[in-house]
């Protein structure tokens, strides 16, 4: 009976064990180590594949992002755009509502802004026009957030698929609108070129300061909203367990819909900042994939808006730096993407070591 059972006892030398707690210092240490490791791997890649000096490549990367005030302001502009969308996703994700439709919500907000610019550019005075653009973009984004949440609240549809599909709807609407506007021209070009109606004015001598300031305020407001407000408390409870929420007397449907409208509205606002403050035009690529990148931002930051700022900074630095080295050394974009990818991989991978540790057999077992 026991003949076919192995009797040689094999034991693995290493085991993976879940950490009970990871101190703040250790977390920082692990993340720094991850970035260093990534830089080393990248250096090896740069040296052996392209034959360049890794150090000078890193210097070019850094200079390309920060060296001149113009480049710095571009980097900041991109940073706050990404951060704004991350902040928008925070309340939805905290409620465990997987809103992956930020891209569409941003686009539809941007489109609303553009519609106002095109139709009211001549009739409304400057400040009024900006207020109407803002209102339209926020409302459009909120509606784009409302639709999937309404279906989720009343018929328990899958929000991931729903919000994803809403992206394509938004893209198609934007595509047909831009085709309508450009007429025979090959591309839409800047809107209201003649009178610059609806273009963000310079503020404190800088072109993108309005964008930066708006997002900065939003970051703080969202942090306090989630952490200290009654709404924030409701969001946490609904995210943790709907049954607990019902038990506590929270109206789950209302909270779901309200939170997603806020999420969509802030995405719409990001669209407003992009169209009014950055591009002064709209296309299907206005959101530029930031709606998806922001998901990584929100996740890595565990929905803390200040960590989001840090992570957005890192991602934007990588993106801009990578495109800089691509042009400076006439590498193709793929080489730059590899460098970027290795760094991201190491940072994401370091999460494993924050949650788990390895122990060797016979020693760590009794820890």
């Amino acid at each position: 009976m026991s003949a076919n059972v192995k009797t040689n006892i094999e034991q693995p030398r290493w085991r993976t064990v879940k950490r009970d707690h990871c101190s703040f210092g250790l977390k920082v240490l692990i993340r720094v180590a991850a970035i260093l490791l990534a830089l080393i791997i990248d250096a090896l890649f740069i040296y052996f594949v392209t034959g360049l000096n890794p150090l000078s490549v890193y210097v070019v990367m850094y200079n390309g992002t920060f060296m001149t005030s113009m480049r710095f302001s571009w980097a900041m502009r991109d940073l706050v755009t990404l951060l704004c969308i991350g902040v928008a996703l925070a309340p939805a994700f905290k409620m465990r509502f997987w809103n992956i439709g930020a891209e569409g919500q941003v686009l539809i907000g941007g489109l609303a802004t553009a519609v106002v610019m095109v139709n009211c550019g001549k009739s409304l005075p400057g400040p009024m026009l900006l207020v109407v653009m803002l209102g339209a973009s926020v409302a459009a984004g909120a509606v784009w957030g409302l639709i999937p949440s309404f279906f989720k609240a009343y018929w328990n549809t899958n929000e991931t698929l729903f919000t994803l599909m809403m992206n394509y709807v938004a893209i198609s609407i934007v595509a047909s609108m831009t085709n309508l506007w450009r007429g025979q021209a090959s591309s839409l070009g800047k809107l209201n070129m003649a009178n610059r109606a609806g273009w963000f004015p310079q503020f404190l001598g800088q072109r993108y300061n309005i964008n930066i300031l708006t997002v900065l305020i939003l970051t703080f407001v969202m942090f306090f909203y989630l952490k200290f407000s009654k709404h924030g408390y409701e969001i946490s409870v609904v995210g943790e367990s709907e049954n607990t929420a019902r038990y506590a007397g929270i109206n789950v449907r209302r909270v779901t819909i309200r939170t997603m409208m806020i999420s969509g509205a802030i995405c719409g606002l990001a669209g407003f900042l992009i169209v009014g403050g950055r591009d002064q035009t709209i296309s299907t690529t206005s959101a530029g994939g930031y709606g998806f990148t922001a998901i990584i931002v929100a996740w890595l930051a565990k929905f803390n808006t200040f960590y989001m700022a840090l992570i957005s900074f890192l991602l934007i630095f990588l993106q801009r730096g990578a495109s800089e080295i691509a042009s400076a050394y006439s590498l193709n974009d793929f080489a730059a993407s590899i460098i970027e990818g290795v760094i991201l991989f190491c940072i994401l991978g370091s999460e494993f070591f924050i949650n788990y540790r390895w122990v060797s057999e016979g020693k760590g077992g009794k820890a």
Partner: protein, 510 residues
């Protein structure tokens, strides 16, 4: 060879938690061995290593005098070890025979007729009563358990492990199970029963192995053991197992449930025309096999179910006895806003009563976060309340902000009960308040409930342990098939009588 199983220096850890530490024990052939220990003492983990679900970090397992390496449940079957888990592992839409056919060796011929005949032989030998063509979803809990045992025997098990087998059975079904176990012993099989019920240990086993906090404490012949000697070894010190039951003083009607009917989402009648009253100063026990409407009954009163037309739940708040408040049709928030002090300790503590990721303070806030005009939550009052609960109920937590999901089961329940009684309820409903708790915490909870009763609170106690229900409650309402099958005086009834009420629905109008 005398020993069926020998486990030597077994250690198993999960992360920093030591589930078993250096446990050495053995089981003789033809022996009924009880493994006794509180929740979390490592009984199930130890047996899971024997049945191939876990692999020990250290130590050796010997079966029939040979050292073996059990890496999977399949290895365990090959060695003649079969385990019947607390949660049955059966396919609902298959018949009994089909479930037995499942998981047989690939080399065996798939022939339901032969399997059925062999199964019938087993049934006759051990006196099982089971319809082999019945589908699992039509079976009672006890029938499913019987099927699990037959399945294991069919595969030739010589060593049977039963994990808390009586937890879901009525006294009558338990007796039947014990008869079967005695038959297996007579057939020279070894039976291991994991349990924490002392009287069952004394009734059925030959020998008891006691575990405490993952360590082997000792083994005694059952003939030499008493309830108090076993408890002492299990808990580690002398405990007095007394449930206080004060007589109700001046009972006032607090809750009047009339014609309460609830349908499930699948439109199955779960509660059928329930009518009863609850009085302040008494504990009303609710007994019944699990899944007979206990959960829905409490949830319907608390506003978490939508009852059918014609249902009525009237609440007589203190000082407003002449003006009953209708709870049906109100959400939990509306109930609270109407001035009703109704406390509810639900069955699913972390999934319904508490927010696992929040600390004690955040959880104290759960029912009152909306008070006040400010858009921000007030954390001062809940912090004070958390501190009070922590001190009064001796909650062991590193800090008031440690997520409650990291606390032990007993402490989680203390946080929940503490919050519910902190706001001076008129009616306190508890569902399985001591499930999974150790003996000490259980008795703390019983006495807390009795204290509440003394202050005039009407307590509703849904329980599963009939001994406790009979010792703690004043009256017991027995649910059967979603109907009230009798409300009896707990002081003048036996366990067997309650057990009968739980299983046999009386005739209409009786």
């Amino acid at each position: 060879m005398d020993y069926a199983v020998q486990m030597k220096n077994i250690t198993k850890t999960f992360g920093d938690v030591i589930a078993n530490h250096d446990v050495t024990m053995d089981v003789k052939k033809g022996e009924i061995l009880a493994i006794l220990g509180e929740n979390g003492s490592g009984k199930t983990t130890l047996m899971n290593m024997l049945s191939g679900i876990y692999y020990p970090d250290h130590g050796e397992i010997w079966i029939n005098g040979k050292q073996v390496d059990i890496q999977s449940p399949r290895d365990a079957y090959d060695l003649g070890i079969g385990m019947i888990h607390q949660h049955f592992k059966l396919i609902d839409v298959f018949t009994a025979v089909e479930n037995i056919a499942l998981g047989l060796e690939k080399s065996e011929k798939f022939d339901l007729k032969t399997i059925e005949n062999r199964t019938r032989e087993i049934c006759e030998r051990y006196h099982f009563e089971l319809n082999l063509q019945q589908k699992v979803y039509e079976m009672s809990v006890s029938q499913k358990q019987t099927l699990e045992i037959i399945k294991v025997l069919y595969r030739g098990a010589q060593i049977l492990i039963l994990d808390e087998p009586t937890a879901v059975l009525t006294p009558q079904e338990t007796e039947k199970l014990f008869d079967v176990i005695r038959n297996m012993k007579a057939d020279n099989k070894s039976v291991i029963i994991i349990t924490h019920k002392l009287h069952e240990v004394l009734e059925i086993s030959d020998r008891v192995v006691i575990l405490r906090k993952g360590e082997y404490i000792g083994s005694v012949d059952t003939a030499q053991a008493t309830e108090s000697s076993l408890t002492e070894q299990m808990v580690g010190r002398k405990v007095t197992l007394n449930i206080n039951r004060t007589d109700p003083v001046n009972p006032v009607k607090r809750l009047s449930v009339k014609n309460l009917t609830v349908f499930s989402q699948e439109n199955v009648k779960i509660l059928d025309d329930i009518t009863f009253d609850v009085y302040g100063g008494e504990i009303l026990g609710i007994a019944g096999i699990s899944g007979n409407g206990q959960k829905e009954l409490l949830e319907a009163i608390a506003g978490l179910q939508i009852p059918a037309q014609g249902s009525s739940v009237e609440f007589f708040e203190r000082g407003m006895e002449d003006k009953p408040i209708q709870l049906i049709g109100k959400t939990p928030k509306m109930i609270r806003d109407s001035g009703v002090h109704l406390a509810f300790v639900p069955e699913d503590r972390l999934g319904m009563g508490l927010v696992g990721s929040m600390g004690m303070t955040g959880n104290m806030l759960l029912k009152t976060y909306g008070s006040g005009k400010s858009i921000f939550t007030d954390k001062k009052k809940p912090r004070k309340m958390a501190l009070k609960v922590k001190e009064e109920l001796e909650v062991a937590t590193p800090s008031l902000n440690t997520p409650v999901s990291r606390l032990s089961g007993g402490n989680v329940q203390k946080v929940l009960v503490g919050r519910e009684i902190a706001e001076a309820p008129s009616v306190l409903m508890t569902a399985y308040a001591v499930r999974g708790l150790d003996i000490n915490t259980s008795y703390t909870i019983y006495n807390l409930l009795d204290e509440e009763k003394k202050t005039g609170v009407a307590v509703v106690y849904v329980g599963e342990d009939l001994d406790v229900l009979i010792d703690l409650c004043d009256r017991i309402l027995v649910l059967c098939g979603g109907r009230v099958n009798g409300i009896v005086d707990a002081r003048n009834i036996t366990k067997e009588e309650v057990g009968l009420l739980m299983t046999n629905l009386r005739k209409e109008g009786a």
